[in-house]
């Protein structure tokens, strides 16, 4: 599907999607509550068939956090970016590791580095940092006077 077709198709499935201009691939903002339903549709609808989650990350915008999911289809070869704004104080979003299994580790990484709580994740623990680590290092206001070198 071309980018224009993808935009029309997705706005029919989920009318309250907010498309974002710019970027190489279609960008959409989705409400965190609508994300599980949309993820199911993206993965299992035959003409969309986004079976490959190639990048899962988070961006700290100081006022809010934004989850970023880069999806690709190995059958149709189209790409899409889904974003979701989360409350910085209590960031919560449904896990997608039952749909794309690679998300299990990537979500654990985002959990410890940004503090996003993934609901219904089977094993949400720290992956890279020690268990007693305090704070979320990739947030913009993170301070570590001992280990951080400021340039």
């Amino acid at each position: 599907m071309t980018n224009e077709e993808l935009i029309t198709e997705l706005t029919t499935i989920q009318p309250n999607l907010v498309p974002e201009a710019g970027g190489e691939w279609p960008n959409f903002f989705v409400e965190a509550a609508d994300w599980p339903k949309l993820a199911q549709a993206l993965r299992f609808k035959d003409d969309l068939f986004f079976d490959y989650l190639f990048c899962l990350t988070c961006v700290d915008w100081k006022t809010h956090l934004a989850m970023v999911y880069h999806l690709s289809s190995t059958r149709h070869r189209h790409n899409i970016v889904i974003k979701s704004k989360l409350n910085r104080e209590k960031p919560e979003i449904q896990t997608v590791c039952d749909i794309w299994r690679t998300a299990e580790f990537h979500e654990r990484e985002v959990y410890e580095l940004f503090g996003v709580n993934f609901l219904n994740h089977p094993d949400l623990r720290k992956l890279i940092l020690p268990d007693d680590w305090v704070g979320y290092p990739l947030r913009k206001d993170y301070e570590d006077p001992i280990n951080m070198i400021k340039l």
């Binding site: 710019g22 990048c55 970023v68 880069h70 070869r77 299994r101 580790f105 990537h106 992956l127 290092p137």
Partner: protein, 371 residues
């Protein structure tokens, strides 16, 4: 982590492999639940060499951040640098001169050959064969010599700059590349004789570590490990960059889905890379090796994503720019981290002795996983 050794209530044995263990090729720590000799679960504990490259890059300029990626997957550091340089060029719409493009591809393929050859030696050593390791290092040294002569370094080359390469190739470069091609043609049949057709090697790898096509995609496995499961995922073919579309080479695929197929895919990929070298080594166009760029680079506001095919799979570089001289947020989608996701799934129900073979066939490089 000592308290994790012991037995569970069901009578399963919990053992630790690593963080210091020859078979993990670095500081990877695996907590394995065993029922007799059969693996029930593998739980990787990461972070022993986590340097938070992503955070570091937020305070480095667009000229500097490229070189932190050499320290991620140190066996394909040139290709990592390539991905970052491509991103800056994409953001600023810098046209790379044809000479620089060809030099970049030549270096990429030399890196890939060196990486695969080292993997071949290490894989055989994991399974108890010592000799291949020395054979592998003999050829890899020659490639490192080429790198040293032209880039000034053997492992972390740091040869890429936004807009081209840092310096022109050494006058000996073409002759040396032709020598290594000749040498590899002579030695690759020896490699096959030593390992590929070896009965013990086959018995230990065939039918071990099955990874179906659907699972490979779902776990985000890329590179030779996924292509051995029949997933077409070569970025050089699917999203060509730097003129790969003009070259004549095959995307190596296999449908065996086991450890032996992953071995075969890499062995054929070495030959494909040699064929790319042959096509280009005598056709390096004359001209500049670097485009003229501004001293201070500022990426426009927005988001950029590039992907390149490293020796291990797809490396994605995702940059969020606020229009300044440093990235606002940077994310490296490293192939090693995603490939590791599948390790638990692939080893369940297998014997503990086969775990080493399966892990070897995924070609994990630990700094690439930890970043």
């Amino acid at each position: 982590m000592i308290e994790e050794i012991g037995t569970t209530e069901q009578g399963d044995l919990i053992i630790n492999v690593g963080p210091q263990h020859p078979a993990t090729h670095g500081v990877l720590h695996l907590v394995i639940t065993l029922n007799g000799e059969t693996i029930k679960k593998i739980e990787p504990h990461l972070g022993y060499i986590h340097r938070s490259i992503e955070k570091m890059c937020e305070s480095l300029t667009y000229r500097q951040f490229i070189y932190t990626t050499s320290r991620m997957d140190y066996l394909s550091s040139h290709i990592n640098n390539h991905g970052c340089a491509l991103l800056v060029e994409k953001g600023l719409q810098i046209e790379v001169p044809p000479r620089a493009q060809v030099i970049r591809i030549l270096m990429d393929e030399l890196t890939r050959i060196a990486s695969h050859i080292l993997w071949w030696g290490a894989m055989a050593m994991d399974l108890g064969a010592m000799t291949p390791y020395f054979h592998a290092f003999r050829e890899r040294e020659l490639i490192n010599d080429i790198m040293e002569e032209t880039c000034g370094a053997r492992l972390t080359m740091n040869y890429q700059v936004p807009g081209g390469v840092m310096a022109d190739i050494h006058p000996n470069f073409q002759r040396r590349v032709k020598d290594i091609i000749k040498q590899l043609y002579k030695k690759l049949p020896e490699y096959d004789e030593l390992v590929t057709g070896n009965t013990i090697f086959k018995a230990r790898t065939q039918g071990i570590g099955y990874l179906s096509k659907e699972d490979a995609i779902s776990y985000g496995v890329t590179g030779p490990s996924a292509r051995a499961s029949g997933v077409s995922c070569d970025i050089r073919k699917l999203y060509p960059y730097e003129g790969y579309e003009k070259l004549n080479f095959q995307e190596v695929m296999h449908t065996g889905c086991d450890t032996y197929s992953r071995y075969l895919v890499r062995m054929i990929e070495i030959r494909e890379s040699i064929s790319i070298l042959e096509q280009l080594v005598d056709n390096i166009p004359e001209g500049d090796y670097q485009a003229k760029t501004k001293a201070v680079l500022k990426l426009p506001k927005g988001e950029f994503y590039t992907r390149v095919e490293t020796a291990r799979g797809e490396l994605g570089v995702y940059v969020v720019s606020e229009g300044g001289t440093t990235p606002y947020r940077i994310k490296f989608r490293s192939p090693g981290f995603s490939n590791l996701c599948a390790l638990d799934h692939m080893t369940r129900g297998q014997k503990i002795g086969d775990m080493v073979a399966i892990m070897g066939s995924l070609d994990l490089v630990i700094p690439d996983i930890d970043r």
